[in-house]
Every structure is written in structure tokens, then in C-alpha cells.
Symmetry: C2
Subunit: 274 residues, 2 copies
């Protein structure tokens, strides 16, 4: 069976995708990761389809130039609005975060009532509803955008009274709809798992889209004969379009380990350059 | 005395600068405004100096290409980090929002204890402290970044319990320092004036940096013989690098009147193109 030592490419609008990388590293400890975070232009979730497609294609092109063997779109907004455009443009495996999370939700729900929380752009695309209904038309899906969750997670106010007030406001319609399963459809949200679970109650199962996407990446790499060989030593690199002083601190919180080898790339003539 | 019918250029990272335009239109009803909001790359306040300088110069270049007679940098973050760079690069009057607000604070304070709330980048630059101390070295300045105020204002949660919790957290150190004057050093913050005043108490005077900048623009245009002639009819245009569906709604709230003539410009080869 063939193997491949090249890194897995992974991009996000910023640091949120590091929660996906964290799951990848847990599941596939021999794999190297080349990460790109578009911190100069984040967030994507409040922006429109043409802008998100343009940014996502530029990011993927840069990863492909780094000779990655596959790309994980570690951003729900890019997956929702640009996954098809990226797949049409590039000829390597492209893994999104939405279908795996949607399939998990469809598998887990007992009541057939699933909630999805995500950015405004992701909710506007209805990507989760479509993906869940592809598994079963009978499942009712209730989507809700939570624009303040991203800045709260980046500020690190994970258990602050303000986080609880915000969560109550956003989640109360989903509670009224009595969902039994809730997809955290933005890679930032797992950091707020505590307040989200507190507001939803212990009976509601939370789904981490990044965790599901890591499983999907494993299956795709195995199928395509692209897994790293036994004994391969993983080397990870992190590239960003802007490197704020707090990045190492915030990023390490998201990744669950200390970030090393962070470099800045700049945008020139419609492309990222080191 | 000479006059000039060309528009005043005005840019911000997004919609916040419309609070400055609002003040400009109130003060100078004959002036036309050409606005540029970099909505594709907002916010700037969490980004670094090189990135903010690059974006600010690109925005100013586009305004200059539209044949504006002066540029109001309607963004505290751009003013704090890029005003000198812009002035070195372009040969027309460039008006920032920080010096006018700083002078107003120095004039108004009785206790000699001034608070400044702004983005992380603005606070990190210490631009307000330097500008206030240029007026009087005796004034003590206490700066505090409030990253969640921008997304709260954009979400329109101006009097929500969450806004009050966030304001309490950010403002309590300034209350402890017993400031009698507080500069709202970000063009988004005047929308949250209600909760800010409520937390600070009625004895604290709030300064709107946009209002002060409009006065400064008036003085500069008059001095340079650039005011529009009597009988001139103002025509305003709004250009954005991304045009979200909610822009007209949110922008109109910031501007205090309905937005018309919004067009999208895209970024090509390091420059904005219509």
C-alpha cells in the first residue's frame, strides 16, 4: 500500500482551524500539517460569497504551492460557501468540515430535531440543512447564527457572565425547538462548549465539526493511499497573513499545545508570498 | 477666497467611519463625501502595524484616484498606526481622528485624569497618551482596549444585558482610576454611548472622536481654501470592498440616514478597482 510523507494542508480564516488541527494530530500522530491562517482578513463569517470564494481559493493555492497532499478546509464558512469552487479548481483531495458534522448529527439524533449554530454566512448558505437532509429528509434542522461567539472565544472569555448572557440569547430559540443534538458549526465554538452545554442542558449532545472532519480526513487519506508511512516523524508549520503578538497565546489555547515555527506571508498580486 | 467642489474622501475598516461622516454632514452640509469601507478585511483593531499601514495606504490611494480634495482617516486604528505613513506618501490634507479627540479631552478634564477606550492596536500604539501629553504633561491617561465593543455594535445589541456585562468588565479599571473624561477612541463606540455612560456614571464626560474630527476637517478645509462654494449641492458615494446584505441596515444606523449608491470595489494587484 502506498504512503506519502508530504504534509496535510489546512486553512482557516484565523486561529479557529487549530481546533481541527488538534483533532488531526490526536487521530493521526504521524502526519505533518502545513497550516495557513488568514489573520489579516479574518473573520470570514460576516462576509459575502464572492469574497469568501476569492479568499478561500487564494489560501488553497498557497497550500498547493507548498506541496501538500490534501487540503482540509478547517473553516465552516469557507466549506459552506467555497468548497465546490475549490474542488473545481484544484486536483487533490479537499476535505470540508460540514458533511462529516452533518452525518454525525443525523446518526446521533433520536428525536429527529437537530440544531446548528454557525456564522451568519454559513447559516445563510443553508449548507448544514442540505447536508443533514441528504442523510434523512425526516430530520428537522434549526439553524442559528451566533456572531458574538467568535470574538468571545478570541477574547478568551469562555466562562464570563457576558458569555453566558450571549449564549442564552442565541440558544433560547433552539431550546424552544427542543433539539436533542447541536452541531457547533464554527471551529471557534468548541472553546465555548462549557457555556453552550450549560445553556442547552445535559440532555443535548454537542457535535464538534472539527473532530468529525479529522475522522473524514483519516478515511480519505487511507482510501487514496496518502497516509504517512510507519515511523514517519511529524513536522508542523504555521503560516499566517498577519501575526499579532497574542497569536502564540491564543493559538496555543486553540491547538492545545505550544505553537512553534510561525511565519508571516504577505499578499501580492492576488497571491500569498512568503 | 478659493473654493473646491470635489468630495472629501473618508475611509474606515468598515461601517464605523459612518459615525464620522454623520458629524461631517451635520457640520458641513454643502460638502460631498466619497466613502470607502474595507469591509472585506475588517476589523483592523486586532491586526498589526505592517498590515494596518498596508491596508490604509491602499485605501487612501483609491480615494486619491477618485479625485478627493482631502482625506479623513475615519478609523482610530488607522490613525494611530498609519497616519504618518499616509502623510509621507500623499500630497493632500490628511485629517486623523486622534489628535482632535485628545485635544478635546485635555481641554475638558478638571481632575487631570482621562480615560481612553479603543481597539487593541490603538491602545498598543499609545497614540492617545502621546497626543494628550503633548497638550499637557500633567494629565494622567488610562487606556483600555475593548475588543468586544465592535462586534456588539455591529450586532446592534446596544442595550442588551450582555453589552452591560461587557462594559462593566472593560470599564471597571477606569472607574477605579476615577477618570472624569473618557475618550471613545473607536468610531464604533458612540453607538454604545448609553451603556458606557450608565457604567461610568453621569459625572464622566464622554468624548466622541468623530465629532471632534469633523470640527478639525472644517478648520483644515477653511484654512486651505478647500470648502465647497455657497449653493453647492452635496452628493455622497459609498464604496465597499465587500457588500454584506445587512450593510444598508447597519450602515444606515451608523450614518443616521438611509444609505444610497453603495458600490463594491475589488482588490487587484495591490490596488482597489471598481
Amino acid at each position: 500500500m502506498s504512503t506519502d510523507r508530504r504534509p496535510i494542508g489546512c486553512f482557516d480564516s484565523g486561529v479557529g482551524g487549530l481546533t481541527v488541527v488538534r483533532r488531526l494530530l490526536e487521530l493521526l500522530p504521524r502526519e505533518s500539517v502545513q497550516y495557513f491562517g488568514d489573520t489579516a482578513r479574518l473573520p470570514y463569517g460576516s462576509k459575502t460569497r464572492p469574497t469568501i470564494i476569492q479568499f478561500s481559493i487564494e489560501n488553497t493555492r498557497w497550500l498547493v504551492e507548498q506541496d501538500v497532499k490534501a487540503v482540509v478546509v478547517a473553516c465552516n464558512t469557507s466549506t459552506a460557501l467555497a468548497l465546490d469552487a475549490i474542488r473545481r479548481k484544484f486536483d487533490l483531495p479537499i476535505i470540508g468540515v460540514i458533511e462529516p458534522g452533518a452525518r454525525a448529527a443525523a446518526r446521533i439524533t433520536r428525536s429527529g430535531r437537530v440544531g446548528v449554530i454557525a456564522t451568519r454566512a454559513t447559516v445563510g448558505s443553508r449548507a448544514y440543512s442540505h447536508a443533514i437532509k441528504k442523510v434523512s429528509k425526516k430530520i428537522e434542522v434549526f439553524e442559528r447564527s451566533c456572531p458574538l461567539f467568535v470574538p468571545l472565544a478570541e477574547e478568551g472569555w469562555l466562562e464570563h457572565p457576558a458569555a453566558l448572557e450571549v449564549a442564552r440569547e442565541y440558544l433560547s430559540p433552539l431550546k424552544r425547538h427542543q433539539v436533542d443534538t447541536l452541531v457547533m458549526g464554527c471551529t471557534h465554538y468548541p472553546l465555548l462548549r462549557g457555556v453552550i452545554q450549560q445553556v442547552m442542558g445535559p440532555g443535548v449532545k454537542l457535535i464538534d465539526s472539527g473532530e468529525e472532519a479529522a475522522g473524514e480526513a483519516h478515511r480519505v487519506l487511507e482510501m487514496e493511499g496518502l497516509l504517512a508511512p510507519r515511523g514517519a516523524v511529524a513536522r508542523h508549520e504555521f503560516a499566517l497573513s498577519d501575526v499579532p503578538g497574542r497569536f502564540t497565546e491564543v493559538g496555543s489555547r486553540f491547538l492545545g499545545q505550544t505553537l512553534r515555527k510561525v511565519r508571516r506571508v504577505t499578499h501580492e498580486d492576488g497571491a500569498w508570498r512568503i
